[in-house]
């Protein structure tokens, strides 16, 4: 009969008493990102983020990840050993914008960059491309290590629309890893990733050429002329 309390216990979040702070961490980080985004948009006319999403890793997947990584299933593992309880994904139009976002995030006060992984310059073997940052945010509330003010981790993933679209579609395919033609499927998906990356680079080049040649003679002329030509021929 006493079992009931145990079950209740299991139902409480793996984040324990720190659970309510995670939403605040997420909101604070999002706010800081939006701040520089709005400033740059106003000052330079650059739209560095096409869209973004943010999530707190669900209790269930966090527990599952602890088990998978061989960690004790508790709030310390969830908040200090693993660093993606809070996740933010920034999607940009152009590759250079991804790197500009990385630069701006590094400059945000109260943020410490713990780790960066450039899977754009060094794509994963399957073709996956993205820029990953682990950051630690100083907060006005306590953390699981007893620090007050405490520090919370968040993972920020940055990539272009094309990279994001590849990742989303590849994920949806959920092909069985043990069927006969796995090798072919993997190779073909990588080819798609490499083609999309190539298009990203071409689009970036076109943007650079338009920028560099604004006011100078160039085949595509100004942005305006380019649009006219494009629609005129279409």
């Amino acid at each position: 009969m006493v079992k009931l309390t145990d079950m209740e216990d299991e139902k409480t979040s793996i984040y324990g008493e720190y659970d309510p702070y995670l939403q605040k961490v997420l909101d604070t980080l999002t706010g800081k990102i939006l701040k520089y985004y709005n400033r740059i948009r106003k000052e330079e006319g650059l739209d560095l983020i096409e869209h973004f999403s943010a999530r707190i890793k669900s209790d269930e997947s966090m527990r599952e990840k602890c088990v998978r990584k061989g960690l004790p299933v508790n709030e310390h593992s969830a908040l200090k050993e693993l660093t993606d309880s809070v996740g933010i994904r920034l999607i940009s139009g152009f590759i250079d914008d991804v790197y500009r976002n990385v630069e701006e995030i590094r400059k945000i006060p109260d943020i410490r960059v713990v780790k960066e992984k450039d899977y754009i310059r060094h794509a994963k073997d399957n073709g996956y491309r993205s820029y990953h940052m682990i950051v630690a945010l100083k907060t006005p509330f306590p953390d699981v290590d007893g620090n007050n003010p405490g520090e919370y981790f968040a993972e920020i993933q940055l990539r272009t629309i094309a990279m994001d679209s590849w990742a989303a579609l590849e994920h949806k395919l959920k092909y069985k890893k043990n069927i006969g033609n796995t090798k072919l499927i993997v190779a073909e998906l990588k080819r798609c990733a490499d083609e999309m990356a190539s298009t990203d680079m071409s689009m970036q080049t076109i943007r650079d050429l338009i920028f560099e040649n604004e006011g100078r003679e160039f085949g595509l002329r100004s942005t305006e002329g380019y649009n006219e030509t494009a629609s005129g021929r279409g």
Binding site: I95, R121, H122, A123, R191, D194, E195, A197, S198, M201, S202, Q204, T205, I206, D208, L209, F218, G219, L220
Partner: protein, 225 residues
Amino acid sequence: MKLLLAEDERELSRALAAVLKLQGYELDPAYDGEEAYRLAHSNAYDVMIFDIMMPKKDGITLLRELRAEGNHTPVLLLTAKAEIENRVEGLDSGADDYLTKPFAMKELLARIRSLTRRSSESYNPSRIQMGSVTLDTENLELKSETSVRLGSKEAELLEFFMQNPEKEIATEDLLKHVWREDEEKDPEIVWVYVSYLRKKLQWVGADLRIEGEHGGSFKLVQAGK
């Protein structure tokens, strides 16, 4: 289309030059094997025509040396003798075709057309390497630290650069080589594609770069070399 003609008989050379120019080809004449070697080193050609019997360096030695250095430009040999041995040696040394003297001008022109038609297809290796870069021309894959897939014109342009490393190639010549079948070719396209390649070489972490400016000549070089 740019041709190199290595032929020591000046009269024949002049006659060929006149006809070829009339057909719209650009032509650099060389009158001995060493001069031809120097020209092949500093310029990018679409087809090279070598006489076998030449002073200073014969056509077969010249051809062997260029092939050993990785020059895959199509070569047509002109042989004075109709001997079988001679032709076999030429073809085995890397010639793509031969013509026995005396020949009909019409036939020479047809053979040049045939060679330029397939220059970027079956006559070249499907993998070209330079520095840290591998270009797979069959799958259009550009690879160094990471890989990307190129468009067909990008791959053709890079292939031409890689076959002619460290050579100044004029915008006009790149246009003629890569966009040869395009009727309304705008030289501006060369600059756009050079820009694509520069960006892609940089992004895959290549140690190659394309030097040169808008509208001018371009040269593929290996960094730190």
